[in-house]
């Protein structure tokens, strides 16, 4: 950061022109940009209602012991008052190091991290490989591209239910494995096989997005760079390493960030593939849903605590990731 002041003798414009007060600045900015403010206001309002309020309410709930049994509501003539209490940070303490917190939180946490890392690595790797293939000049390229985008175009639940049939005990996958005299795991029941199945299906659903984005990135790399590299006698690997990868940097950093956030919060695939009676394969998001909606009574407080913990993890991750990208960019430039 300190490098930035190099050769800049300025102490800012403050000496020459005193900075106007806050009110004046707001006024001036308003009179200049009133149109922009007017256009942005509805969005800010809607976001405030849709995101701000639930978030604030969620944070408040984490500080209480609210469940569906002690939350107040009005039903016609019956007014049932709130009976939940303020418990401070007890929920967080309970989730993170309370009784049986390994079973309830840490096992899901470890699996969520593993799931995210494995899935993003696989989808990015396979997506890049396919994008490179699709970037070649070959006959019927459009048809291949269409076919490879198909898993993305089909609604996720259709894909997941198809996989549920394929992975069933006597489904296609096991029939195939059986004919090859390989072991036939129960993909949808055995905890370890469940995890493999979840990763498999998520990779299947996630690769097309990576492929399309990276293909776009590849097409934006100027052909001259490759020509120049070839003139210099660079091997295909060197061209990939020193031309393609740096050229994809902007796209890659974005899709990896998106991939991490999406995979971390990938509710649909786990929920639809295994239902609710598969405690071992639940990631934090599905587990939070289970606590808040999937059981009786609904544990609003703990579910909200999971939500806030998830949000914090993602914020911390994003902040570090951004910083890491910035540092690396400076190294390159």
């Amino acid at each position: 950061m300190a490098v930035a002041v190099q050769g800049a003798p300025s102490t800012g414009g403050r000496d020459r022109e005193p900075r106007p007060g806050l009110a004046t600045r707001v006024k001036r900015s308003y009179s200049t940009y009133w149109y922009a403010y007017a256009m942005a206001a509805p969005v800010v309002l809607v976001l405030g209602v849709l995101v701000g309020y639930p978030l604030a309410r969620g944070v408040y709930l984490t500080l209480t012991d609210a469940t569906s049994l002690n939350t107040g509501h009005t039903v016609g003539v019956n007014h049932i008052p709130d009976t939940f209490k303020f418990v401070g940070l007890h929920n967080y303490a309970d989730v993170l190091w309370g009784d049986s917190s390994y079973d309830r939180f840490w096992s899901h946490f470890i699996w969520t991290i593993a799931w995210t890392v494995i899935c993003v690595t696989l989808t990015y790797g396979l997506g890049l490989a396919m994008a490179l293939l699709m970037h070649q000049k070959l006959r019927g390229r459009t048809a291949y591209r269409l076919l490879l985008i198909l898993p993305w175009a089909v609604p996720t639940f259709v894909t997941v239910f198809s996989w549920r049939l394929l992975l069933a005990d006597n489904g296609m996958v096991n029939v195939l494995l059986g004919s090859l005299h390989l072991p036939q795991p129960s993909w949808l029941e055995d905890p370890l096989a469940q995890k493999a199945a979840a990763i498999l299906v998520n990779t299947w659903c996630g690769v097309p997005f990576m492929m399309v984005s990276l293909l776009g990135g590849l097409q934006s790399i100027p052909a001259e760079l490759y020509e120049a590299a070839e003139m210099d006698g660079a091997s295909p690997w060197q061209r990939f390493r020193f031309v393609t990868l740096p050229g994809l940097r902007a796209v890659s950093s974005t899709v990896i960030l998106l991939g991490v956030i999406w995979t971390f919060n990938q509710f649909v695939i786990i929920f639809l593939l295994f239902g609710q009676n598969a405690p071992d394969v639940q990631i934090l998001v599905t587990w939070a849903y289970q606590l808040g909606f999937g059981q009786q009574p609904r544990d609003y407080a703990q579910s909200a605590s999971y939500g806030i913990i998830l949000l914090s993890i993602l914020i911390v991750f994003t902040a570090f990731y951004q910083r890491w990208l910035k540092r690396n960019d400076q190294g390159v430039i």
């Binding site: 049986s100 079973d103 949808l188 009574p297």
Partner: protein, 426 residues
């Protein structure tokens, strides 16, 4: 892009729910004597059972020209959740078909209106007293019993005969022996049990003379030695010769029913709600092939199965006109004539004695279950009772997969129960 889809789905969902709120708001402002439209949530099987209920609702409309019924079928699996969400905010139905296990919790939450002395319970003397008691909470009745059921041993008579078995087994050991015989003699699996579902494990607990909790003594009994013995037996039902191994996938129930209906498994434990489906199966084109017996008994000597069934409940949040109409509807749905019709078409069991007409009791499915109803154990008046099935279901799954020992799994269940029932002793 995915974000975009999610956002537009959210907007669409909001629009729909706003529209739903709007319509219910406008309908509730109708004058008391004018035409009223009540919303009825039906939780029965959409293809086999719902047409019958719709038919009864049409008859009700014909008899009450001032009342229209907005018939909505809600899948049973998600109904409890949807009802709870709707009744806690807006868009709740005026009257709905509710599992007997939900009534106490809904009543405790103030969602239901008491029906004693209203037209809904005008015929209260005709109903079986135990079923009325099951629909009540703290001295008030919150539901009109519509259908009742219990679990029984359903078996394929032809397969049993082929294996040389003449009578249904009456103990779990006899059942295991028969399953082995069926497998040896016919090549077909002898018995399949629903895995990882607490409700289907109840006959084993009752068979050892215990329950998940002792509500009267305020004691958690799910990890008692008797319960552990019951779960050991339960576990053996998936591993002994001739039985189908535990199917813990979310399609497990469907797999079990498919196998039974097509004659690939000779016996299962299930309730009367499946009889219409079973009769459509290739193995039961001759209805007489379906054998119905009481669930096998455990070491306590007596068989026992949970009492299930459904009530008609009236939502407390509607205005007076809608409530009055809903109460009339509840009475009509549970009248002897309606119950007979429902039972005839759906093979479910009526809740009042005057609905059992001779024609009805001639139906082998009805007669079979009517005979084993005395085995049904009444449910304790405990709002949390139906919540108890969540934890035991999960832990039974883990026990079946050998992820934890029987005792450890039941101890984990007991500590979940302790959170749910703070004033109970372990």
């Amino acid at each position: 892009m995915r974000r975009g889809i999610a956002a537009s789905a959210l907007v669409a969902a909001l629009a729909v729910s706003l529209a739903a709120c709007g319509s219910s708001g406008s309908s509730s402002s109708t004058a008391a004597n004018g035409p009223v439209t009540i919303t009825y949530w039906d939780t029965s099987n959409a293809t086999n059972e719902a047409p019958t209920y719709q038919d009864v609702a049409k008859k009700f409309e014909a008899a009450n020209p001032n009342i229209k019924v907005n018939f909505v079928n809600v899948p049973f699996d998600s109904a409890q959740n949807k009802l709870q969400t709707a009744m806690g905010s807006k868009g709740a139905p005026d009257v709905f078909r509710s599992d007997v296990g939900w009534t106490a919790a809904f009543a405790k939450a103030g969602y239901l209106t008491p029906l004693d002395g209203t037209p809904a319970l005008a015929d209260s003397a005709a109903f079986q007293p135990s079923l009325l008691k099951q629909a009540s909470y703290q001295g008030k009745t919150y539901g009109v019993p519509l259908v009742t059921d219990t679990l029984g041993l359903l078996y394929n008579k032809a397969l049993f005969a082929k294996a040389g078995i003449t009578a249904a087994p009456t103990t779990w050991d006899a059942l295991k022996a028969d399953a082995a015989t069926v497998k040896a003699k016919t090549g077909v699996d002898g018995f399949e049990m629903r895995a990882g579902d607490g409700y289907y494990a109840m006959p084993l607990l009752f068979g050892e003379g215990t329950d998940m909790v002792n509500a009267a003594a305020k004691k958690i009994t799910v990890n008692s030695p008797q319960a552990a013995a019951a779960v050991e037996t339960y576990k053996s039902l998936f591993t002994s010769p001739g039985t189908v191994k535990a199917d813990l996938t979310s399609d497990g129930y469907a797999h079990m029913m498919d196998a039974f209906n097509t004659g690939k498994v000779a016996a299962i434990i299930n309730g009367p709600w499946e009889i219409t489906n079973i009769y459509q199966g290739s193995a039961f084109t001759d209805k007489a092939n379906l054998g119905i017996a009481a669930v096998p008994a455990g070491s306590a000597g007596k068989p026992g199965a949970p009492t299930g069934g459904h009530n008609i409940d009236v939502y407390a949040g509607s205005d007076a006109a809608h409530q009055a109409a809903a109460e009339k509807f509840a009475a009509f749905m549970t009248s002897a004539a309606s119950q007979t019709e429902i039972a005839q078409k759906n093979s479910t069991l009526p809740t009042r004695s005057d609905a059992y007409t001779p024609a009805l009791t001639a139906d082998p499915g009805i007669a079979g279950f009517q005979a084993i109803l005395p085995v049904a154990q009444p449910r304790p008046e405990l709002p949390e009772y139906s919540s108890l099935f969540t934890s035991i279901g999960t832990n039974l799954g883990k026990i079946l997969q050998n992820q934890e020992s029987t005792q450890a799994g039941l101890d984990a269940t007991a500590s979940d129960y302790a959170k749910l029932l703070p004033d109970f002793t372990k």
